[in-house]
Symmetry: C2
Subunit: 309 residues, 2 copies
Amino acid sequence: MNRTALIAVDWGTTSFRAFALSGTLSGEETIIARTQAPAGIMQVADGAFETVLEEQLQRLDAGADVPVIMSGMITSRQGWIEVDYLPCPAGGDEIASALHRHETRAGRTVHLVAGLIDRREPARPDVMRGEETQILGAVDETSDRSLAVLPGTHSKWAEVGCGRILRFSTYMTGELFAVLRQHSILGKLMEGDDEDEAGFEAGVRAGLASEGGLLRDLFSVRTLPLTGALAAGATASYLSGLLIGAEISSARAVHRGLDAPVMLIGSDRLVARYGQALALASIRSERARDDAAAWGMLRIARSCGIVGS
Amino acid sequence: MNRTALIAVDWGTTSFRAFALSGTLSGEETIIARTQAPAGIMQVADGAFETVLEEQLQRLDAGADVPVIMSGMITSRQGWIEVDYLPCPAGGDEIASALHRHETRAGRTVHLVAGLIDRREPARPDVMRGEETQILGAVDETSDRSLAVLPGTHSKWAEVGCGRILRFSTYMTGELFAVLRQHSILGKLMEGDDEDEAGFEAGVRAGLASEGGLLRDLFSVRTLPLTGALAAGATASYLSGLLIGAEISSARAVHRGLDAPVMLIGSDRLVARYGQALALASIRSERARDDAAAWGMLRIARSCGIVGS
């Protein structure tokens, strides 16, 4: 019988996901039950985090004595309990040692995972909350040195070695796409949101070749359709490709000399898009296993004895 | 007596400006009267451009027989009469030859100035409407080769030689600042819109040094205040500086080898900001004379005999 030994909660800005885990690292059977809800920290009113947590955990049918581990924006200033960033490099052991323990009013023990801060470049301090857990759950602890990429609103690129996160960088790709699509003249001139393969590829190639002229390349998203060089219906895909290409070009310069395939962690759609863009940049990629956040939290919990090995 | 020989209209997206000119190029006394209104093409309802024009020109007290010359977005697809772009390089003579003549219902003769297109880079065709006229009015026709910079929503950098516009490039600096300020997480974390000198300078330096990592540098606008390295009240100025610095860095790579001071054309505030940022990049600049658009249109009108020399 698979008894729940740990509840792992991935609580972000816009969504809540929880997993009931059996405590072994042996594979898919370790996830006994799961639940998810559009109950991200921005959707929780009046700081009622504990109430939301108890409501969600009832669906997992686990006793109040089962330890809970949480990661994501729930530990930020805008979340439930702010936990200071842990400096990078850091691996499962450091992250486990820095867990913040909290007893809820209902008597439940909650362990909060600290986010990471990379201060290597003083002009560009970098931070993550939640991604460190996904990375720990996705990468092979024994591999020498590799890159994990988490595409999204704020895309993260992280160098990992022997299960430790060595350094990382963030790119505002997804957010820039969204504000330009919705609020700029570029968005006003776009027709439709259908994906256009050729437009996306052309955008990626332009982004990869831009050599830093993003402010200038953005104007081409206006002039290419104006001059008939790009269909109006392909413009949104072109912009998406241009930004992803610029991100890859920039990140490649930041994280040099990594030959292993890049590990992609994210939704099906974004992983497919980034895999395609990386291939155009001659960078191999592979997809991380599903539920990386749950595996990462199980690893951390085992590392500090919250659940047995 | 200074009789009006020409009416020059600078009609853009958000504003309408008109000048009554005496026809000589001899100096400030050439401008007999002027008017301006927030009647840009986006504010004109139902295509009533002729009505707006007649209303505005009444303020200049010039007869219906005085020729009118116009430039700016009024000649775009969203304006009154679309005039095809003229290919670059082009100077006063080519632009004068390409004037589009239109008789209004009121019997007035209107000459519309074509915008320019630069197709040198197929992946980044570039266009301007109105700036070509300002540049012609600002630069010295006898100077060998220089750069004119028109900061704004879509900043333009143009190489000029012997009074001809040789090539140019556009940067979406102002628009990107506006959408990020108003609609992104960066804007949400900013406190106030006061200008902060130190924050602006630090931003310019970061932008100049960014070497193409704009998507990454934007995230530092979040992390620098988060880590206490930048005051929340300085963040808007930092973002402004970062974008202007990135524009300069990119434009400098596009327009190499130009030693003469850059000619700045624009509002007092933007010219001061760009002058300061250019100085941080060790690029000298000087301010163009006022009313460059009016002088440019007078030059074009004289070049094709609409007014006498």
